[in-house]
Symmetry: C2
Subunit: 251 residues, 2 copies
Protein backbone atom coordinates (compact mmCIF):
# COMPACT_ATOMS: atom_id res chain seq x y z
CA UNK A 1 0.00 0.00 0.00
CA UNK A 2 1.54 3.26 -1.15
CA UNK A 3 1.21 6.25 1.11
CA UNK A 4 0.92 4.22 4.34
CA UNK A 5 1.54 6.47 7.25
CA UNK A 6 1.58 9.54 5.01
CA UNK A 7 -0.59 12.49 5.74
CA UNK A 8 -3.20 12.58 2.95
CA UNK A 9 -6.68 14.03 3.34
CA UNK A 10 -9.41 14.59 0.79
CA UNK A 11 -12.09 17.23 1.36
CA UNK A 12 -15.34 16.75 -0.55
CA UNK A 13 -18.65 14.98 -1.10
CA UNK A 14 -19.10 11.64 -2.82
CA UNK A 15 -21.86 13.13 -5.00
CA UNK A 16 -19.34 15.47 -6.66
CA UNK A 17 -17.91 13.89 -9.82
CA UNK A 18 -14.80 16.02 -9.32
CA UNK A 19 -14.25 14.49 -5.89
CA UNK A 20 -14.74 11.03 -7.43
CA UNK A 21 -11.88 11.82 -9.83
CA UNK A 22 -9.50 12.37 -6.92
CA UNK A 23 -10.78 9.24 -5.15
CA UNK A 24 -10.18 7.07 -8.22
CA UNK A 25 -6.64 8.42 -8.62
CA UNK A 26 -5.94 7.81 -4.92
CA UNK A 27 -7.22 4.25 -5.29
CA UNK A 28 -5.21 3.62 -8.47
CA UNK A 29 -2.10 4.72 -6.61
CA UNK A 30 -3.26 2.74 -3.55
CA UNK A 31 -2.71 5.74 -1.32
CA UNK A 32 -4.38 5.62 2.10
CA UNK A 33 -6.25 8.79 2.89
CA UNK A 34 -8.72 10.30 5.27
CA UNK A 35 -11.97 11.48 3.69
CA UNK A 36 -13.25 14.69 5.24
CA UNK A 37 -16.84 14.80 4.10
CA UNK A 38 -18.48 18.13 3.40
CA UNK A 39 -22.12 18.72 4.35
CA UNK A 40 -24.56 19.73 1.65
CA UNK A 41 -25.21 23.47 1.46
CA UNK A 42 -22.60 24.41 4.05
CA UNK A 43 -18.94 24.79 3.14
CA UNK A 44 -16.57 23.90 5.94
CA UNK A 45 -13.99 26.36 7.22
CA UNK A 46 -11.34 23.90 6.10
CA UNK A 47 -12.63 23.93 2.51
CA UNK A 48 -12.89 27.72 2.35
CA UNK A 49 -9.46 28.14 3.94
CA UNK A 50 -7.84 25.55 1.68
CA UNK A 51 -9.33 26.84 -1.57
CA UNK A 52 -10.02 30.53 -0.91
CA UNK A 53 -10.16 31.46 -4.61
CA UNK A 54 -12.84 29.00 -5.74
CA UNK A 55 -14.13 27.58 -2.42
CA UNK A 56 -14.79 24.36 -4.32
CA UNK A 57 -14.22 20.70 -3.66
CA UNK A 58 -12.19 18.55 -3.98
CA UNK A 59 -9.19 19.71 -2.04
CA UNK A 60 -6.37 17.26 -1.46
CA UNK A 61 -4.33 18.05 1.62
CA UNK A 62 -0.94 16.38 1.53
CA UNK A 63 1.42 16.97 4.43
CA UNK A 64 -0.65 20.00 5.37
CA UNK A 65 -0.50 21.63 1.93
CA UNK A 66 -3.71 22.00 -0.09
CA UNK A 67 -3.92 21.13 -3.79
CA UNK A 68 -7.07 22.18 -5.69
CA UNK A 69 -8.81 21.41 -9.01
CA UNK A 70 -9.61 17.75 -9.68
CA UNK A 71 -7.42 17.08 -12.72
CA UNK A 72 -4.52 18.99 -11.14
CA UNK A 73 -4.92 16.69 -8.12
CA UNK A 74 -4.87 13.65 -10.45
CA UNK A 75 -1.59 14.84 -12.03
CA UNK A 76 -0.14 15.63 -8.62
CA UNK A 77 -0.90 12.14 -7.33
CA UNK A 78 0.54 10.66 -10.52
CA UNK A 79 3.79 12.56 -9.97
CA UNK A 80 4.11 11.99 -6.23
CA UNK A 81 3.36 8.26 -6.52
CA UNK A 82 4.82 7.36 -9.90
CA UNK A 83 5.09 3.62 -9.11
CA UNK A 84 3.01 0.82 -10.62
CA UNK A 85 -0.66 1.35 -10.18
CA UNK A 86 -1.57 -1.80 -12.03
CA UNK A 87 0.69 -4.74 -11.31
CA UNK A 88 -1.20 -6.93 -13.79
CA UNK A 89 -0.30 -4.69 -16.73
CA UNK A 90 2.80 -3.00 -15.32
CA UNK A 91 1.35 0.41 -16.10
CA UNK A 92 3.13 3.15 -14.25
CA UNK A 93 1.36 6.38 -14.85
CA UNK A 94 -2.15 7.77 -15.10
CA UNK A 95 -1.11 10.23 -17.80
CA UNK A 96 -0.01 8.58 -21.05
CA UNK A 97 3.75 8.25 -21.10
CA UNK A 98 4.38 9.87 -24.50
CA UNK A 99 4.18 13.68 -24.74
CA UNK A 100 1.82 13.51 -27.72
CA UNK A 101 -0.62 11.10 -26.08
CA UNK A 102 -0.43 13.16 -22.87
CA UNK A 103 -1.30 16.32 -24.84
CA UNK A 104 -4.24 14.54 -26.49
CA UNK A 105 -5.52 13.30 -23.11
CA UNK A 106 -5.21 16.80 -21.64
CA UNK A 107 -7.00 18.33 -24.62
CA UNK A 108 -10.02 16.01 -24.33
CA UNK A 109 -10.17 16.32 -20.55
CA UNK A 110 -10.34 20.08 -21.11
CA UNK A 111 -13.07 19.59 -23.73
CA UNK A 112 -15.12 17.48 -21.32
CA UNK A 113 -15.13 20.13 -18.58
CA UNK A 114 -15.26 23.15 -20.86
CA UNK A 115 -17.73 22.16 -23.58
CA UNK A 116 -19.45 18.87 -22.84
CA UNK A 117 -20.26 19.13 -19.12
CA UNK A 118 -22.14 22.46 -19.36
CA UNK A 119 -24.50 20.73 -21.82
CA UNK A 120 -25.04 17.77 -19.46
CA UNK A 121 -25.94 20.24 -16.71
CA UNK A 122 -28.26 22.08 -19.12
CA UNK A 123 -30.18 18.83 -19.79
CA UNK A 124 -31.17 18.90 -16.14
CA UNK A 125 -31.40 22.61 -15.51
CA UNK A 126 -32.56 24.00 -18.87
CA UNK A 127 -35.30 26.65 -18.59
CA UNK A 128 -37.58 25.07 -21.20
CA UNK A 129 -38.20 21.58 -22.57
CA UNK A 130 -36.79 22.77 -25.93
CA UNK A 131 -33.59 23.97 -24.28
CA UNK A 132 -33.25 20.61 -22.51
CA UNK A 133 -33.83 18.67 -25.73
CA UNK A 134 -31.26 20.78 -27.58
CA UNK A 135 -28.73 20.27 -24.78
CA UNK A 136 -29.39 16.49 -24.84
CA UNK A 137 -28.62 16.47 -28.57
CA UNK A 138 -25.31 18.21 -27.91
CA UNK A 139 -24.44 15.84 -25.06
CA UNK A 140 -25.03 12.91 -27.41
CA UNK A 141 -22.96 14.41 -30.23
CA UNK A 142 -20.20 15.11 -27.70
CA UNK A 143 -20.30 11.45 -26.68
CA UNK A 144 -20.07 10.46 -30.35
CA UNK A 145 -16.95 12.60 -30.65
CA UNK A 146 -15.54 10.93 -27.54
CA UNK A 147 -16.40 7.53 -29.04
CA UNK A 148 -14.01 8.38 -31.90
CA UNK A 149 -11.36 9.52 -29.41
CA UNK A 150 -11.80 6.23 -27.54
CA UNK A 151 -11.28 4.26 -30.74
CA UNK A 152 -8.03 6.15 -31.41
CA UNK A 153 -6.67 6.07 -27.84
CA UNK A 154 -7.68 2.64 -26.57
CA UNK A 155 -6.03 0.62 -29.34
CA UNK A 156 -8.77 -2.01 -29.09
CA UNK A 157 -8.38 -2.35 -25.33
CA UNK A 158 -10.81 -1.68 -22.48
CA UNK A 159 -9.88 1.89 -21.53
CA UNK A 160 -8.85 5.21 -23.02
CA UNK A 161 -5.60 4.46 -21.19
CA UNK A 162 -5.28 1.05 -22.91
CA UNK A 163 -5.14 -1.91 -20.54
CA UNK A 164 -5.92 0.15 -17.49
CA UNK A 165 -7.54 3.37 -16.40
CA UNK A 166 -5.75 6.55 -17.47
CA UNK A 167 -6.18 10.30 -17.30
CA UNK A 168 -9.02 10.55 -19.80
CA UNK A 169 -10.85 7.58 -18.26
CA UNK A 170 -10.92 9.47 -14.97
CA UNK A 171 -11.90 12.77 -16.63
CA UNK A 172 -14.98 11.27 -18.32
CA UNK A 173 -15.64 8.22 -16.14
CA UNK A 174 -16.54 10.28 -13.08
CA UNK A 175 -19.68 11.37 -14.94
CA UNK A 176 -21.01 7.91 -15.82
CA UNK A 177 -23.52 7.70 -12.99
CA UNK A 178 -24.33 11.40 -13.40
CA UNK A 179 -25.23 10.63 -17.04
CA UNK A 180 -27.54 7.86 -15.78
CA UNK A 181 -29.07 10.17 -13.16
CA UNK A 182 -29.61 12.84 -15.81
CA UNK A 183 -31.30 10.28 -18.07
CA UNK A 184 -33.59 9.26 -15.21
CA UNK A 185 -34.55 12.80 -14.31
CA UNK A 186 -34.90 14.23 -17.82
CA UNK A 187 -36.23 11.21 -19.71
CA UNK A 188 -33.61 11.68 -22.46
CA UNK A 189 -31.44 8.69 -23.33
CA UNK A 190 -27.88 10.00 -23.58
CA UNK A 191 -25.42 7.10 -23.62
CA UNK A 192 -26.86 4.87 -26.35
CA UNK A 193 -25.73 1.43 -27.50
CA UNK A 194 -26.64 2.20 -31.12
CA UNK A 195 -24.69 5.48 -31.28
CA UNK A 196 -21.77 4.92 -28.93
CA UNK A 197 -21.30 1.15 -28.45
CA UNK A 198 -17.63 1.45 -27.49
CA UNK A 199 -18.38 3.98 -24.75
CA UNK A 200 -21.23 1.82 -23.41
CA UNK A 201 -18.83 -1.14 -23.07
CA UNK A 202 -16.14 1.15 -21.64
CA UNK A 203 -18.54 2.56 -19.03
CA UNK A 204 -19.35 -0.97 -17.82
CA UNK A 205 -15.66 -1.91 -17.53
CA UNK A 206 -14.86 1.39 -15.82
CA UNK A 207 -17.54 1.05 -13.14
CA UNK A 208 -16.43 -2.52 -12.34
CA UNK A 209 -12.75 -1.57 -11.96
CA UNK A 210 -11.40 -2.19 -8.48
CA UNK A 211 -10.31 1.45 -8.12
CA UNK A 212 -13.77 2.70 -9.09
CA UNK A 213 -16.54 0.40 -7.92
CA UNK A 214 -16.53 1.39 -4.28
CA UNK A 215 -16.37 5.14 -4.85
CA UNK A 216 -18.82 5.58 -7.71
CA UNK A 217 -22.11 6.74 -6.18
CA UNK A 218 -25.35 4.91 -7.00
CA UNK A 219 -27.54 6.53 -9.63
CA UNK A 220 -30.49 6.85 -7.22
CA UNK A 221 -28.33 8.67 -4.69
CA UNK A 222 -27.43 11.20 -7.39
CA UNK A 223 -31.07 11.57 -8.42
CA UNK A 224 -31.91 12.41 -4.80
CA UNK A 225 -28.94 14.78 -4.64
CA UNK A 226 -30.06 16.57 -7.82
CA UNK A 227 -33.52 17.03 -6.26
CA UNK A 228 -31.92 18.48 -3.14
CA UNK A 229 -29.85 20.91 -5.24
CA UNK A 230 -32.97 21.96 -7.14
CA UNK A 231 -34.98 22.56 -3.95
CA UNK A 232 -32.07 24.47 -2.43
CA UNK A 233 -31.79 26.68 -5.55
CA UNK A 234 -35.52 27.45 -5.55
CA UNK A 235 -35.36 28.36 -1.87
CA UNK A 236 -32.26 30.53 -2.38
CA UNK A 237 -33.97 32.33 -5.26
CA UNK A 238 -37.12 32.93 -3.20
CA UNK A 239 -35.03 34.32 -0.33
CA UNK A 240 -33.23 36.58 -2.79
CA UNK A 241 -36.54 37.79 -4.29
CA UNK A 242 -37.98 38.42 -0.83
CA UNK A 243 -34.88 40.39 0.13
CA UNK A 244 -35.15 42.42 -3.09
CA UNK A 245 -38.86 43.07 -2.42
CA UNK A 246 -38.08 44.12 1.18
CA UNK A 247 -35.34 46.46 0.02
CA UNK A 248 -37.73 48.02 -2.54
CA UNK A 249 -40.30 48.52 0.23
CA UNK A 250 -37.68 50.13 2.47
CA UNK A 251 -36.73 52.84 0.01
CA UNK B 1 19.76 24.87 -31.42
CA UNK B 2 17.21 22.23 -30.41
CA UNK B 3 14.78 21.04 -33.02
CA UNK B 4 17.05 21.78 -35.99
CA UNK B 5 15.76 19.94 -39.00
CA UNK B 6 12.62 18.87 -37.13
CA UNK B 7 9.24 19.52 -38.52
CA UNK B 8 7.63 22.12 -36.25
CA UNK B 9 5.00 24.62 -37.37
CA UNK B 10 2.95 27.10 -35.41
CA UNK B 11 -0.40 28.33 -36.68
CA UNK B 12 -1.63 31.66 -35.33
CA UNK B 13 -1.44 35.44 -35.14
CA UNK B 14 1.09 37.45 -33.17
CA UNK B 15 -1.74 39.53 -31.67
CA UNK B 16 -3.10 36.47 -29.87
CA UNK B 17 -1.62 36.19 -26.35
CA UNK B 18 -2.21 32.44 -26.55
CA UNK B 19 -0.03 32.22 -29.65
CA UNK B 20 2.63 34.28 -27.86
CA UNK B 21 2.65 31.64 -25.10
CA UNK B 22 3.61 28.96 -27.62
CA UNK B 23 6.23 31.24 -29.23
CA UNK B 24 7.90 31.94 -25.89
CA UNK B 25 8.04 28.23 -25.04
CA UNK B 26 9.50 27.47 -28.49
CA UNK B 27 12.13 30.18 -27.96
CA UNK B 28 12.94 28.97 -24.44
CA UNK B 29 13.55 25.52 -25.85
CA UNK B 30 15.36 27.05 -28.83
CA UNK B 31 13.25 25.04 -31.25
CA UNK B 32 13.28 26.22 -34.87
CA UNK B 33 9.79 26.49 -36.31
CA UNK B 34 7.85 27.81 -39.22
CA UNK B 35 5.21 30.41 -38.33
CA UNK B 36 2.06 30.03 -40.42
CA UNK B 37 0.33 33.34 -39.93
CA UNK B 38 -3.45 33.48 -39.87
CA UNK B 39 -5.27 36.39 -41.48
CA UNK B 40 -7.63 38.46 -39.34
CA UNK B 41 -11.30 37.49 -39.69
CA UNK B 42 -10.65 34.45 -41.89
CA UNK B 43 -9.68 31.09 -40.40
CA UNK B 44 -7.44 29.04 -42.64
CA UNK B 45 -8.39 25.52 -43.73
CA UNK B 46 -5.30 24.30 -41.91
CA UNK B 47 -6.46 25.86 -38.63
CA UNK B 48 -9.99 24.49 -38.92
CA UNK B 49 -8.73 21.04 -39.95
CA UNK B 50 -6.12 20.95 -37.18
CA UNK B 51 -8.44 22.09 -34.39
CA UNK B 52 -11.93 21.07 -35.56
CA UNK B 53 -13.44 21.22 -32.05
CA UNK B 54 -12.50 24.80 -31.13
CA UNK B 55 -11.18 26.19 -34.43
CA UNK B 56 -8.87 28.37 -32.35
CA UNK B 57 -5.23 29.33 -32.49
CA UNK B 58 -2.55 28.45 -31.61
CA UNK B 59 -2.05 25.04 -33.13
CA UNK B 60 1.39 23.49 -32.96
CA UNK B 61 2.02 20.98 -35.71
CA UNK B 62 4.88 18.66 -34.88
CA UNK B 63 5.79 15.96 -37.38
CA UNK B 64 2.39 16.43 -39.00
CA UNK B 65 0.42 15.99 -35.77
CA UNK B 66 -1.57 18.95 -34.36
CA UNK B 67 -1.49 19.91 -30.67
CA UNK B 68 -4.03 22.48 -29.47
CA UNK B 69 -4.59 24.74 -26.42
CA UNK B 70 -1.75 27.07 -25.51
CA UNK B 71 -0.77 25.72 -22.08
CA UNK B 72 -1.04 22.13 -23.35
CA UNK B 73 1.37 23.14 -26.13
CA UNK B 74 3.73 24.62 -23.52
CA UNK B 75 3.71 21.35 -21.54
CA UNK B 76 4.17 19.34 -24.72
CA UNK B 77 7.24 21.36 -25.74
CA UNK B 78 8.60 21.04 -22.21
CA UNK B 79 8.29 17.26 -22.41
CA UNK B 80 9.57 16.79 -25.97
CA UNK B 81 12.58 19.10 -25.40
CA UNK B 82 13.38 18.52 -21.74
CA UNK B 83 16.99 19.78 -22.02
CA UNK B 84 18.43 22.98 -20.59
CA UNK B 85 16.57 26.03 -21.73
CA UNK B 86 18.73 28.37 -19.75
CA UNK B 87 22.40 27.48 -19.72
CA UNK B 88 23.21 30.37 -17.41
CA UNK B 89 21.04 28.95 -14.60
CA UNK B 90 21.00 25.30 -15.65
CA UNK B 91 17.21 25.26 -15.50
CA UNK B 92 15.77 22.28 -17.28
CA UNK B 93 12.05 22.57 -17.38
CA UNK B 94 9.36 25.17 -17.87
CA UNK B 95 7.10 23.49 -15.31
CA UNK B 96 8.47 23.55 -11.77
CA UNK B 97 10.27 20.32 -11.05
CA UNK B 98 8.50 19.43 -7.78
CA UNK B 99 4.95 18.03 -7.99
CA UNK B 100 3.64 20.54 -5.45
CA UNK B 101 5.11 23.58 -7.21
CA UNK B 102 3.86 22.21 -10.55
CA UNK B 103 0.35 21.85 -9.10
CA UNK B 104 0.48 25.43 -7.79
CA UNK B 105 1.64 26.74 -11.18
CA UNK B 106 -1.14 24.81 -12.95
CA UNK B 107 -3.73 26.11 -10.50
CA UNK B 108 -2.81 29.76 -11.02
CA UNK B 109 -2.51 29.37 -14.80
CA UNK B 110 -6.06 27.98 -14.68
CA UNK B 111 -7.15 30.92 -12.52
CA UNK B 112 -5.67 33.41 -15.00
CA UNK B 113 -7.60 31.99 -17.97
CA UNK B 114 -10.75 31.09 -16.10
CA UNK B 115 -11.32 34.02 -13.73
CA UNK B 116 -8.93 36.88 -14.39
CA UNK B 117 -8.85 37.09 -18.20
CA UNK B 118 -12.65 37.41 -18.65
CA UNK B 119 -12.47 40.52 -16.45
CA UNK B 120 -9.63 42.00 -18.53
CA UNK B 121 -11.75 41.47 -21.64
CA UNK B 122 -14.73 43.04 -19.87
CA UNK B 123 -12.69 46.21 -19.19
CA UNK B 124 -12.54 46.66 -22.95
CA UNK B 125 -15.88 45.22 -23.98
CA UNK B 126 -18.17 46.04 -21.06
CA UNK B 127 -21.59 47.36 -22.07
CA UNK B 128 -21.54 50.37 -19.72
CA UNK B 129 -18.87 52.55 -18.11
CA UNK B 130 -19.95 51.15 -14.72
CA UNK B 131 -19.44 47.57 -15.92
CA UNK B 132 -15.99 48.50 -17.24
CA UNK B 133 -15.02 50.20 -13.97
CA UNK B 134 -16.21 47.19 -11.94
CA UNK B 135 -14.24 44.83 -14.22
CA UNK B 136 -11.12 47.04 -13.86
CA UNK B 137 -11.43 46.74 -10.06
CA UNK B 138 -11.54 42.97 -10.35
CA UNK B 139 -8.56 42.88 -12.73
CA UNK B 140 -6.58 44.90 -10.21
CA UNK B 141 -7.56 42.72 -7.27
CA UNK B 142 -6.65 39.65 -9.36
CA UNK B 143 -3.22 41.19 -9.97
CA UNK B 144 -2.87 41.82 -6.23
CA UNK B 145 -3.59 38.13 -5.65
CA UNK B 146 -0.99 37.22 -8.27
CA UNK B 147 1.47 39.61 -6.58
CA UNK B 148 1.19 37.40 -3.47
CA UNK B 149 1.66 34.28 -5.59
CA UNK B 150 4.76 35.87 -7.14
CA UNK B 151 6.19 36.57 -3.71
CA UNK B 152 5.69 32.93 -2.70
CA UNK B 153 6.92 31.34 -5.96
CA UNK B 154 9.80 33.57 -7.00
CA UNK B 155 11.82 33.25 -3.80
CA UNK B 156 13.12 36.80 -4.22
CA UNK B 157 14.22 36.18 -7.81
CA UNK B 158 13.12 37.78 -11.08
CA UNK B 159 10.45 35.32 -12.22
CA UNK B 160 7.60 33.14 -10.95
CA UNK B 161 9.90 30.33 -12.13
CA UNK B 162 12.82 31.69 -10.01
CA UNK B 163 15.94 32.55 -11.99
CA UNK B 164 14.29 32.03 -15.35
CA UNK B 165 10.92 32.02 -17.04
CA UNK B 166 8.60 29.19 -16.04
CA UNK B 167 5.07 27.96 -16.68
CA UNK B 168 3.28 30.69 -14.72
CA UNK B 169 5.47 33.43 -16.21
CA UNK B 170 4.30 32.34 -19.65
CA UNK B 171 0.66 32.00 -18.54
CA UNK B 172 0.49 35.59 -17.25
CA UNK B 173 3.32 37.22 -19.18
CA UNK B 174 1.62 36.83 -22.55
CA UNK B 175 -0.94 39.40 -21.36
CA UNK B 176 1.49 42.16 -20.35
CA UNK B 177 1.15 44.20 -23.54
CA UNK B 178 -2.57 43.39 -23.66
CA UNK B 179 -2.85 44.93 -20.16
CA UNK B 180 -1.08 48.05 -21.50
CA UNK B 181 -3.34 48.17 -24.56
CA UNK B 182 -6.40 47.80 -22.35
CA UNK B 183 -5.16 50.66 -20.14
CA UNK B 184 -4.68 52.85 -23.22
CA UNK B 185 -8.12 52.10 -24.64
CA UNK B 186 -10.12 52.19 -21.42
CA UNK B 187 -8.27 54.86 -19.47
CA UNK B 188 -8.10 52.63 -16.37
CA UNK B 189 -4.67 52.02 -14.84
CA UNK B 190 -4.45 48.29 -14.13
CA UNK B 191 -0.85 47.31 -13.37
CA UNK B 192 0.11 49.84 -10.71
CA UNK B 193 3.45 50.42 -9.01
CA UNK B 194 1.77 51.30 -5.70
CA UNK B 195 -0.41 48.19 -5.57
CA UNK B 196 1.69 45.54 -7.32
CA UNK B 197 5.35 46.65 -7.29
CA UNK B 198 6.71 43.12 -7.66
CA UNK B 199 4.58 42.44 -10.75
CA UNK B 200 5.61 45.76 -12.30
CA UNK B 201 9.30 44.82 -11.92
CA UNK B 202 8.57 41.27 -13.10
CA UNK B 203 6.76 42.55 -16.23
CA UNK B 204 9.82 44.63 -17.17
CA UNK B 205 12.21 41.69 -16.74
CA UNK B 206 9.84 39.39 -18.63
CA UNK B 207 9.52 41.66 -21.67
CA UNK B 208 13.31 42.07 -21.88
CA UNK B 209 14.01 38.32 -21.74
CA UNK B 210 15.69 36.99 -24.86
CA UNK B 211 12.90 34.43 -25.41
CA UNK B 212 10.23 37.13 -25.17
CA UNK B 213 11.40 40.47 -26.54
CA UNK B 214 11.11 39.63 -30.22
CA UNK B 215 7.70 37.95 -30.03
CA UNK B 216 5.83 40.29 -27.70
CA UNK B 217 3.72 42.59 -29.89
CA UNK B 218 3.93 46.36 -29.41
CA UNK B 219 1.14 47.95 -27.37
CA UNK B 220 0.06 50.20 -30.26
CA UNK B 221 -0.28 47.21 -32.57
CA UNK B 222 -2.65 45.63 -30.04
CA UNK B 223 -4.62 48.86 -29.69
CA UNK B 224 -5.11 48.85 -33.48
CA UNK B 225 -6.00 45.15 -33.38
CA UNK B 226 -8.59 45.75 -30.64
CA UNK B 227 -10.15 48.50 -32.80
CA UNK B 228 -10.30 46.10 -35.76
CA UNK B 229 -11.99 43.45 -33.61
CA UNK B 230 -14.52 46.02 -32.39
CA UNK B 231 -15.33 47.21 -35.92
CA UNK B 232 -15.61 43.61 -37.12
CA UNK B 233 -18.01 42.74 -34.25
CA UNK B 234 -20.23 45.76 -34.96
CA UNK B 235 -20.36 44.82 -38.64
CA UNK B 236 -21.13 41.17 -37.85
CA UNK B 237 -23.94 42.24 -35.51
CA UNK B 238 -25.40 44.59 -38.14
CA UNK B 239 -25.31 41.79 -40.72
CA UNK B 240 -27.02 39.48 -38.25
CA UNK B 241 -29.71 42.07 -37.49
CA UNK B 242 -30.28 42.71 -41.21
CA UNK B 243 -30.59 38.97 -41.83
CA UNK B 244 -33.09 38.69 -38.96
CA UNK B 245 -35.08 41.64 -40.31
CA UNK B 246 -35.07 40.11 -43.81
CA UNK B 247 -36.22 36.74 -42.47
CA UNK B 248 -39.06 38.46 -40.56
CA UNK B 249 -40.09 40.23 -43.77
CA UNK B 250 -40.04 36.93 -45.66
CA UNK B 251 -42.48 35.16 -43.37
Amino acid sequence: MAGSGVDVKLVGMIESPFVVRAMIALNLKRVQYEFLEEKFGCKSDLLVRSNPVYKKMPVLIHQGRPICESMIIVEYLDQVWPGDHDHATGTNSILPSTPYQAAIARFWAHYIDDKWLPKLIEVMKGETEEAKAEAAKQVISGLQLLEEVFEQCSDGKAFFGGDTIGYLDIALGCFITWIKATEKISGFKLLQQELTPLLVAWAQCFCLHVAVKDVMPETDRLVEHAKRIRAWRIEAKATENNAAAASTTDT
